[in-house]
């Protein structure tokens, strides 16, 4: 009795060395012939203990089939390459496999994080359900401040206390939770844990009670925070210029306009020259729907960290300065891919998502 693996090994070596049709025929006779190796093994079946015969037979048949198919393959391969190529239709459709597709918002979000990552900004995160303190109070938005009108907020019903908790003696009333309206609370979480210098970028979902063509009740933001000695508005401009040119192309330029955010002072809004018309429509009075012919697109809000924010996290505002910025990822993705309706992002039609490719 011979080990079948070794027969197969012999066959494969012989086949690899076969130079022509005649050699193949010789191999056929040696292995499959009436007195060939396989036949010999079948004839020695009586040596196999009865309980193993069935498996041995199956293995031998399998090996025989293998040798037959390999020989057939080798013979057809040798019947002339020129004749073969005419027979195969290379224009037939490819036998494809399922391909993945990355969501354009998350691709854009990752790209933004990568760009800032190269400038030393680490990725940080925080919860989506926040307390009033993190979302507003610590960010210099006291209760009853009209700046809260800028953020129509979802509140979470007081579900923290369940029957079991009510019965326990340690039941403490929960602070009311809300869905964070911006990623700025991450500034607070980060500075509570780490002392300056700090360079972080915080991507994530945020929620506002809004729903129309340009507003969704949930969207993504990326927040940036850089706190150190000597950080100024010059650094803010430089950083954001680097960001905009990397993301939109080196031909874009920036415009800084004063604005208002409770957690930064000075506060400003940053526009890029229109990525569609290049700012041309303003001069030539040709209509550009993207920038409404203003030549500028608002892409983010920014500013220098307000001293009250530093005080919230017990950092002496006279010891450091900081810059902070925040941008809406959907808005940037819409500009990047010329998408006009924000709701397409959350509909997730696979024909929409597939347009942006698996690699994103």
């Amino acid at each position: 009795m011979t080990d079948l693996d070794s027969i197969q090994g012999d066959f494969e070596r012989a086949l690899a060395g076969a130079a022509d049709e005649r050699a193949l025929e010789e191999i056929r006779i040696r292995f499959l012939g009436r007195n060939g190796l396989i036949a010999a093994e079948f004839s020695r079946m009586s040596e196999v203990p009865p309980e193993g015969r069935r498996a041995r037979g199956a293995d031998l048949n399998k090996l025989k089939g293998f040798i037959e198919s390999k020989l057939k393959e080798a013979q057809s391969g040798r019947s002339g390459p020129a004749a073969r190529s005419a027979a195969f239709d290379v224009t037939l459709p490819a036998r494809s496999v399922s391909r993945g597709a990355a969501h354009p918002v998350l691709t854009t979000l990752n790209d933004i994080c990568d760009i800032f990552g190269r400038a030393g900004f680490e990725i940080a995160g925080g919860p989506e359900a926040e307390t009033d303190w993190y979302n507003f109070g610590a960010l210099n938005v006291p209760a009853d401040h009209p700046a809260r009108d800028m953020h129509d907020t979802f509140y979470i019903a007081d579900c923290g206390l369940r029957i079991a908790d009510l019965n326990s003696r340690s039941a403490i009333r929960n602070p009311q939770y809300l869905l964070r309206t911006h990623t700025s609370p991450v500034q607070i979480h980060v500075m509570e844990k780490r002392r300056p210098p700090v360079r972080v970028i915080a991507p994530g979902r945020v929620y506002r009670r809004d729903d129309d063509v340009s507003h969704a009740p949930m969207f993504h933001q990326v927040e940036g925070l850089w706190v150190d000695r000597g950080v100024t508005m010059r650094d803010l401009r430089g950083l954001l210029e680097y960001f905009a040119k990397t993301l939109f192309g080196s031909s874009v330029h920036l415009r800084l306009r004063p604005s208002f955010f409770p957690f930064t002072e000075p506060s400003l809004e940053v526009d890029v020259s229109c990525v569609i018309c290049g700012g041309e429509s303003r001069q030539r009075a040709s209509a550009c729907r993207t920038c409404k012919s203003t030549g500028w697109l608002e892409i983010l809000g920014a500013g220098m960290v307000h001293p009250n924010v530093f005080k919230s996290v017990k950092i002496d505002p006279s010891s450091v300065t900081g810059l902070a910025f925040g941008m809406g990822v959907e808005r940037i993705a819409m500009l990047r891919y010329a998408i006009s309706d924000i709701r397409l992002f959350y509909e997730n039609d696979v024909r929409f998502v597939a347009q942006f490719g698996a690699l994103g």
């Binding site: 498996a55 199956a58 036998r95 494809s96 496999v97 399922s98 993945g100 597709a101 990355a102 969501h103 800032f116 190269r118 400038a119 030393g120 900004f121 680490e122 990725i123 919860p127 989506e128 359900a129 209760a143 009853d144 009209p146 509140y155 979470i156 019903a157 579900c159 923290g160 369940r162 929960n174 939770y177 979902r205 729903d211 969704a216 009740p217 949930m218 100024t232 508005m233 010059r234 650094d235 401009r237 430089g238 950083l239 210029e241 306009r257 004063p258 604005s259 208002f260 002072e265 000075p266 220098m304 001293p307 959350y346 509909e347 997730n348 039609d349 696979v350 998502v353 698996a358 690699l359």
Partner: protein, 675 residues
């Protein structure tokens, strides 16, 4: 806010060139221009005022700003000084109630009727409707000076008014036709509440055609008091909008006298008396500012002379207190200027934020946390498994929850949802994925739909818990159709392969992953598994149940899986170490078994592994057969065993011995028989 250029020109001299660059200059200095239109033959800008600049919510306020940012001369509105009898005792203010100052005037013999054409035109330009001459005056002053006013029918007020907090049970029928129940709100009362202070007047005391005598209110109400009332009652008026953003406490007299003058002019009434209660405004405190403060934030050395000029232009009183140091007193209408950083914003605004040069940061790659890297690996693995990434809203409705056998009480509810379809925060990713799957199938978006999402779910508790999860759903063909291969619908094992690949790619040191039969809401018990790594449960997968399919209007079978990434990522990062590539041949031995229905493939493989066979490297299933020619209650399972030694070639005899040992154990432990 609408800003009629003709009206603002009453207070600033604008040349044609000034008018041409007005919109751009305002944008550069912080007032966004949202649009421009022509109303009643005049140019009207739509200006957007940020919440910190309540002082700009009037024509006069904007004139002041235009003068500051364009350097044009300001002509303040003329105020007539009047000598009239002073009344005492008509107005009473509760201390600490939220009303700092209250000016009242009684004008008798008014004839209420339509306003003259010029007044109607101005109101229309500023976006106000015309009511009657008395009310129109209050809106004209509101639009022009930003001071909210109110007129009452004096005869309905009685002998006195009281500014106080409302008492339990008090109500007011307001001008908007609604009746509001009050709860510690600041009100004007004349025995009963006649106005919600700074928000809206009462219907009963309002000025109408029959009114003869008018009581005019000009007051300063605390911003937070007004705001709280508005928020509680869901109200917002032109008046409350301005009080919330703080009106100029020093501007009361001007507005008061101008209003009296106009009411007399338009209604023909005569001023009887005025009364002033409350205290005069505090003078704003001084702020110390130095060139270093400016340099420190702006990164630019602004010449001291320019600093002084910019601050003076914004209405600040600037006194020098040494070289490059100042004592700055902001104007009464800028309560937002509280510290040096606020003054730096003013300086940078007038200097031109866009003029600040850039300093490109030094590039140095940031470190990536292990968590971020792991999540990225999961995402890329899912993409490489041919899944389409989706972003679902984080909300669910009660019906979807029930479709998954989750009681709405076990999900986090929103207090103020946008709609009933988004009443709760999702405790699982699957409802969103199934809804998306259903949409894609109904739209015939593809014959093979494979979706995933990574995101947070919200679990009730104290404190509320967020967990990061991965959800996967697949349905339709197992592979894109091709003429050369038969079509086959996806099944459980396709999804299992995806999940196992993603878990492997996550790069965590996970114990062996096991799939155990389980019952999970939303999944069919006939094909449903709990997924565990070691003794940690990390998720579930299975065939979507009929009930869930009905809930999501799914016309075809679908398979779904959900994994807790929070749990998976809590395992250590897997250390990858090279293992020698086997140099010696392997030997395979097969066992064709007949086992009872209750025995799973997992049981068989586990028992083979448990037999302690030396050099066993792999156990696999090569055949599964259910049908005829088998004992009742049994099925056939073929398992292959692969043996391989790292140090030598194994002999057939060794392999046979191991196979026999495995069979012996299978016979003993789970009653398997050779087929």
């Amino acid at each position: 806010m609408k800003l009629p250029i003709g009206w603002v020109s009453e207070f600033v001299r604008l040349t044609a060139a000034d008018r041409a660059r007005l919109a751009r200059r305002l944008t550069e200095t912080g007032v966004e221009i949202a649009g421009e239109e022509e109303i009643e033959g005049d140019r009207v800008l739509e200006v957007e005022i940020t919440p910190n600049r309540g002082d700009l919510l009037s024509v006069w306020g904007m004139a002041r700003e235009i003068s500051a940012v364009m350097g044009v001369r300001l002509c303040p509105p003329a105020v007539r000084r009047m000598t009239v009898p002073k009344k005492r005792g008509f107005i009473q203010i509760d201390r600490g109630s939220g009303c700092r100052r209250y000016l009242g005037a009684r004008i008798d013999g008014a004839r209420i009727g339509p306003s003259p054409e010029w007044a109607v035109r101005k109101l229309r330009q500023a976006g106000y409707a015309s009511f009657n001459n008395a009310v129109d005056v209050t809106n004209l002053i509101l639009a022009e000076l930003g001071q909210p006013l109110h007129v009452f029918d004096a005869d309905k007020l009685g002998e006195s008014i009281h500014v106080r907090r409302s008492r339990p049970g008090e109500k007011i029928a307001a001008l908007d036709g609604n009746t509001y129940s009050l709860a510690d709100d600041l009100v004007i009362t004349a025995g009963r509440p006649v106005a919600l202070a700074g928000v809206i007047g009462g219907l009963e005391t309002s000025v109408s055609e029959t009114t003869r005598n008018i009581f005019l209110e000009c007051a300063w109400f605390e911003p937070s008091t007004v705001r709280r009332t508005c928020r509680r009652l869901g109200l917002a008026t032109e008046s409350s909008f301005r009080f919330e953003r703080s009106v100029d406490p020093a501007g009361l007299e001007r507005a008061f006298h101008r209003a009296i003058e106009l009411i007399e002019e338009l209604t023909g009434g005569n001023l009887e008396w005025v009364e002033a209660e409350g205290r005069a405004p505090d003078s704003p405190s001084a702020i110390r500012l130095s060139v270093e403060d400016i340099d420190r934030l702006m990164g630019v050395s602004v010449p001291p002379a320019s600093v002084r000029k910019f601050l003076a232009a914004t209405g600040c009183r600037v006194a020098s207190s040494g070289a490059g140091r100042w004592r700055v007193v902001p104007p009464s209408f800028r309560p937002d200027l509280r510290g040096p950083h606020d003054l730096v914003e003013e300086v940078s605004r007038l200097y031109g934020m866009d003029r600040i040069p850039s300093r490109i940061p030094a590039m140095r790659p940031a470190e990536r946390s292990d968590h971020v890297t792991a999540l990225d690996r999961v995402r890329r693995s899912a993409l490489s498994q041919g899944l389409t990434e989706t972003v679902q809203l984080s909300f669910v409705d009660e019906k979807s929850l029930r479709g998954f056998g989750i009681s709405p009480a076990d999900a986090v509810a929103l207090q103020n949802p946008l709609s009933l379809a988004a009443s709760h925060l999702r405790p699982t990713l699957l409802p969103g994925l199934l809804a998306t799957l259903s949409l894609n199938i109904r739209r015939e978006a593809g014959v093979s739909i494979r979706l995933f999402e990574t995101g947070a779910v919200f679990l009730p508790g104290a404190p509320l818990k967020e967990e990061l999860r991965l959800g996967v759903v697949i349905s339709g063909e197992a592979a894109p159709p091709h003429f050369s291969r038969p079509a086959r619908p996806v099944d459980f094992l396709d999804l299992k392969a995806i999940i196992m690949a993603i878990l492997a790619d996550a790069g965590r040191a996970l114990p062996e992953t096991v799939f155990l039969p389980a019952a999970v809401g939303g999944l069919d018990p006939s094909a449903c598994a709990a997924i565990r790594v070691g003794d940690v449960s990390i998720g579930c997968m299975g065939l979507v149940s009929e009930e869930a399919r009905k809930t999501f209007d799914l016309s075809q079978p679908a398979f779904a899986a959900e994994i807790s990434l929070s749990r998976v990522l809590s395992f250590e990062r897997a250390a990858v170490a090279y293992a020698a590539i086997p140099r010696f041949p392997s030997i395979r031995r097969d066992l064709s078994l007949v086992v009872g229905q209750a025995v799973t493939a997992g049981d068989v493989c586990r028992e083979v592994r448990a037999a302690g066979l030396s050099d066993l490297v792999h156990v696999d299933v090569f055949d599964l057969y259910r049908g005829d020619n088998l004992p009742a209650g049994a099925y056939a399972l073929g398992v292959s065993l692969r043996f391989q030694s790292p140090v030598r070639s194994l002999s057939d005899e060794e392999a046979n011995r191991s196979r026999d040992a495995a069979l012996a154990r299978l016979e003993r432990q789970i009653g398997a028989r050779l087929r």
